[in-house]
C-alpha cells in the first residue's frame, strides 16, 4: 500500500473521530467531558485497529496471520483437515444437544434466540449470499410468520404444525408479490424497496387495530404440540405432549435449524444454487446461457421469505406473544450483519456469526447499548478490508481475490 494512502487514511480517521466529538459531547446543552472523551476514545481505538489491519495487509503479514486464522476454522484447508470432518461436526452437534441439560434457563433462552437468528441468517443467505439480491426488509417475512401463526391459532385454533406450512406459503407468496416488480430493477432499487416494504408491514401491523390489536400485540398463542403414538389399552392412540419447557422448545428450534442447514446446503450445491450464483456473478451472461433469471430470483426471494416465516412462527409460539415492535428495521440489519460478518454465502460462517453476534451482547449486558454501533462499523470495515467475511465460502473467497487482482491491474 502506498504511503500517501496510509497517511490519508490516518488523517481522515482522526478527522472522523474529531468530527463526532461535538455530537457526542452534547447529550443536553451542557458539555459532558468525561463521557465525550470516553466515546471518542472508543471511536479512535476502532479506527486505529482498522488502520493497523490495513497496514498489516499492505505488508503481507496480515495475509499470513489471517491465513492461519482461517485455516483454523475452515474445514476444507489447513491443519484441521487431518481430523475427518464428520468427527468434529458430530462433537459440535453433541455439545449443542447436551447444552440444555447443563445450562440454566437464561442460557437456554439465549441459545434459542441464537438458533432463531441462525435460521434467519441462513434464509437471508439464500437471497443475499447465493442470488446476490440485497433484501433490507427481511424481518417483514419473520413478522408474517409470527402473525400468521398468532392469528390462525387465536381465531381458528390451528396447531403450530398446521400453521407452519400456511405461514411458509404466505411468506413465499408475499415475497413473490413484492419481489416481482422490483427484481427486474437494479440491486440498489431492490434494497430501498424492500426496506420500505419492511416498514410498511410494520405500519400495517401497528395500525390495523381490529386484526392485530395494534401496538399492544397478540397474546396467548398455544405452544407447539408434539404427537406421539402410544400402545395403551385401546390399541394405538396418539398422545399429545405440550412443549412448555424451555429445553423442549430449544430442541424444536434446534431441529428446525438443522433442517434449515441441510436445506440451504443442498440448495447451494444444486442446479438451482449454481444458477443463483451465475445470476449473482453476471446476470446478462446467465440469461444468455439460458438461465431463467427473473424466475430464479423470484424463487430465491420466496425461499428466503419461507425460512424467515418458519423462524417467525416459532418465535411467536415460543413467547406466546407478538407485537409490531419486534419487527423494526434494526432487526433486519442484525440479520444482515450476521450474513455479512459471517461471510456472504458461507454456512459455517453464518452459524458462527449468528451465535456470536446474538450471544455476546446478551451475556455482556453492558455492551448491549454499543452493539449496533459496533455492528454497523464492523460491516463497513469488513467490506473495505475483508469482504469475504470471517469464514469465507471457498468459492466466494476466490471470487473476491480475483476481483482484487483485476482492480489492481486496472
Amino acid at each position: 500500500m502506498a504511503k500517501s494512502d496510509l497517511k490519508k487514511f490516518f488523517v481522515y480517521s482522526v478527522f472522523l473521530g474529531i468530527l463526532i466529538l461535538p455530537m457526542v459531547g452534547f447529550p443536553t446543552t451542557s458539555f459532558h467531558a468525561g463521557r465525550a472523551f470516553g466515546v471518542w476514545g472508543v471511536f479512535v481505538a476502532i479506527l486505529a485497529i482498522g488502520l493497523i489491519a490495513k497496514t498489516l495487509r499492505g505488508t503481507g503479514g496480515y495475509r499470513k496471520s489471517t491465513a492461519g486464522l482461517s485455516s483454523l476454522f475452515s474445514p476444507a484447508s489447513g491443519t484441521i483437515k487431518r481430523i475427518p470432518r464428520k468427527y468434529y461436526i458430530s462433537i459440535l452437534l453433541l455439545m449443542v444437544i447436551i447444552f440444555p441439560l447443563v445450562a440454566n434457563r437464561y442460557m437456554i433462552d439465549v441459545g434459542i434466540t441464537c438458533l432463531i437468528y441462525v435460521v434467519l441468517g441462513l434464509g437471508l443467505n439464500i437471497v443475499v449470499g447465493l442470488a446476490g439480491l440485497l433484501d433490507l426488509g427481511y424481518i417483514a417475512f419473520y413478522a408474517v410468520g409470527a402473525y400468521s401463526y398468532s392469528l390462525l391459532n387465536l381465531h381458528f385454533g390451528l396447531s403450530f404444525w398446521a400453521c407452519l406450512p400456511i405461514g411458509v406459503a404466505l411468506g413465499a407468496v408475499l415475497g413473490c408479490i413484492i419481489g416481482y416488480p422490483t427484481l427486474k430493477m437494479r440491486g440498489d432499487y431492490l434494497a430501498i424497496v424492500t426496506m420500505g416494504f419492511g416498514e410498511i408491514i410494520r405500519l400495517v401491523l401497528n395500525n390495523w387495530d381490529k386484526l392485530t390489536h395494534g401496538p399492544n400485540g397478540l397474546l396467548g398463542m398455544e405452544k407447539p404440540l408434539i404427537y406421539y403414538p402410544s400402545l395403551g389399552e385401546g390399541g394405538l392412540t396418539w398422545e399429545v405432549f405440550k412443549l412448555k419447557s424451555l429445553p423442549g422448545l430449544y430442541y424444536l428450534i434446534f431441529i428446525l435449524a438443522i433442517l434449515t442447514i441441510i436445506a440451504v446446503n443442498r440448495l447451494d450445491k444444486s442446479r438451482v444454487g449454481r444458477a443463483w450464483v451465475a445470476i449473482r456473478e453476471d446476470e446478462v451472461a446467465a440469461e444468455l446461457s439460458g438461465v431463467p433469471t427473473t424466475w430464479l430470483k423470484l424463487l430465491a426471494y420466496a425461499m428466503g421469505a419461507a425460512f424467515a416465516s418458519v423462524g417467525g412462527a416459532f418465535f411467536a409460539a415460543k413467547l406466546s406473544y407478538t407485537n409490531p415492535n419486534f419487527f423494526i428495521f434494526m432487526e433486519s440489519c442484525i440479520v444482515l450483519c450476521i450474513v455479512v460478518l459471517g461471510g456472504v454465502g458461507s454456512i459455517p460462517g453464518i452459524i458462527l456469526a449468528g451465535v456470536v453476534l446474538i450471544a455476546v451482547p446478551e451475556v455482556f449486558r453492558e455492551l448491549q447499548t454499543y452493539r449496533m454501533l459496533a455492528f454497523g462499523l464492523a460491516m463497513a470495515v469488513m467490506m473495505v478490508l475483508r469482504p469475504e467475511g470471517l469464514i469465507p465460502a471457498t468459492r466466494r473467497k476466490r471470487e473476491f481475490h480475483e476481483e482484487k487482482q483485476l482492480s489492481a491491474g486496472d
Binding site: T182, M185, G196, L203, V381, V384
Partner: protein, 306 residues
C-alpha cells in the same frame, strides 16, 4: 373555510413539505448520478444536521443572542450545520466508499448501510432515544391568503429551500466544477481522459449533497419543534421515492419528485386517515417502478443491471 381556501391551504402545505423532500432527494440523486451508489447514510446526515442545529441554537439562546440578532442566528445555525455535515459526508466517503469504488456493487451498498447504522446508533447513544425539543424560534404568526393561513416560518423555509435549490442549479449548470460533475455523471472514464479530477468531483458532490440534507434537517427541526435520532429513516424513504419518481440522477427531477411526493402525502392526510400516510409514498414508489422505472425526467438507466 370554503373549498377554494381549502385547496390553497393544502397547496401551501404541499409546497412546504415538498421542498423539504426535494432538498433531501437532491443529495441522493447527485451522489447516485456520480458514483451510482445509494448513499444510505444520507438519512443520518440529515438527522445529524438537525442535531447540530439544535446544539448551535441552544448555545446561542443561552447567551441571549437569539433575541437580539435573529437573522445572524439563523445564518449561524444553518451555516454551521451545513458545514459540519458536509465535512462528515466527505469523511464518510473517504473512509467507507472510496476504497470500494472498484469493488462489487453489493459490497459498496453494504458498506454504506454499515455507515448508516453506525451513525444512527452513534446519535442514539449521544443524543438519547427520546424526542429533543427544538427552540421555538419561527413565529407562529402569519398572513392569510383568501382564508388560507401561511405562517412566516413556512414562508421563510420555502424561500430558503428555493434559494438553495436555485443556487445549486446555477452552480451545476454554470460553474466549471458543475460542468465537471455533469461530465463525470455521464461517463467517468471519458471525463478522466479529458483531465477532470474525478476524486475532487466526487468530494464536491459529497459536500453539496449532505449540506443540502443538513439544511433540510434544521428546517424540519425548526418547523416541527422536535428531532429524534431515527427520524432520518422515514425521510430517507420518502426522499428516495422522490428521487426515483423524478428520475434518479436528474437534479430538476429530484425537485419535481419532492413536490409530487409532498403533494400526495398532503392530499392523503387531508382526506384519508393520516396514520396511513407513510404507506402512500411506498405505493407511489412501487407504481413508478412498475410503470416508468426511469422516472419522469430521468434518462433510461433503470434497465441497466447490477
Amino acid at each position: 373555510m370554503d373549498t377554494q381556501s381549502f385547496i390553497i391551504q393544502q397547496l401551501i402545505n404541499a409546497i412546504f413539505l415538498g421542498s423539504i423532500y426535494a432538498l433531501i432527494a437532491l443529495g441522493y440523486t447527485m451522489v447516485y448520478g456520480i458514483i451510482e451508489l445509494i448513499n444510505f447514510a444520507h438519512g443520518e446526515l440529515f438527522t445529524s444536521g438537525a442535531f447540530i442545529g439544535i446544539i448551535v441554537l441552544a448555545i446561542l439562546q443561552k447567551f441571549g443572542f437569539v433575541e437580539t440578532h435573529f437573522i445572524l442566528t439563523m445564518i449561524l445555525a444553518f451555516g454551521l450545520a451545513m458545514a459540519y455535515v458536509a465535512v462528515l459526508g466527505v469523511a464518510i466517503e473517504q473512509v467507507a466508499y472510496k476504497p470500494l469504488r472498484n469493488a462489487s456493487r453489493l459490497a459498496a451498498i453494504l458498506s454504506a448501510l454499515g455507515m448508516s447504522i453506525f451513525l444512527s446508533n452513534g446519535m442514539m447513544l449521544s443524543q438519547g432515544v427520546s424526542d429533543r425539543a427544538y427552540p421555538q424560534l419561527l413565529s407562529i404568526r402569519g398572513v392569510s391568503i383568501m382564508d388560507a393561513r401561511i405562517t412566516y416560518g413556512q414562508i421563510f423555509i420555502i424561500i430558503l429551500s428555493v434559494a438553495l435549490m436555485a443556487a445549486l442549479y446555477v452552480f451545476v449548470k454554470g460553474s466549471r466544477l458543475g460542468k465537471a460533475m455533469r461530465a463525470t455523471a455521464q461517463n467517468k472514464t471519458m471525463a478522466r481522459m479529458c483531465g477532470i479530477d474525478i476524486d475532487k468531483t466526487i468530494r464536491v458532490t459529497f459536500i453539496i449533497g449532505p449540506a443540502l440534507g443538513a439544511a433540510a434537517g434544521v428546517m424540519v427541526g425548526l418547523y416541527y419543534g422536535s428531532v429524534r435520532f431515527d427520524m432520518g429513516f422515514i425521510y430517507m424513504i420518502k426522499a428516495f421515492a422522490a428521487a426515483i419518481l423524478g428520475g434518479i440522477g436528474s437534479i430538476p427531477g429530484a425537485m419535481l419528485g419532492g413536490l409530487i411526493i409532498g403533494g400526495v402525502e398532503v392530499l392523503w392526510s387531508a382526506f384519508l386517515p393520516s396514520e396511513w400516510k407513510d404507506v402512500t409514498t411506498f405505493i407511489v414508489l412501487i407504481l413508478v417502478l412498475y410503470l416508468k422505472p426511469s422516472g419522469i425526467l430521468g434518462e433510461d438507466v433503470a434497465e441497466t443491471r447490477v
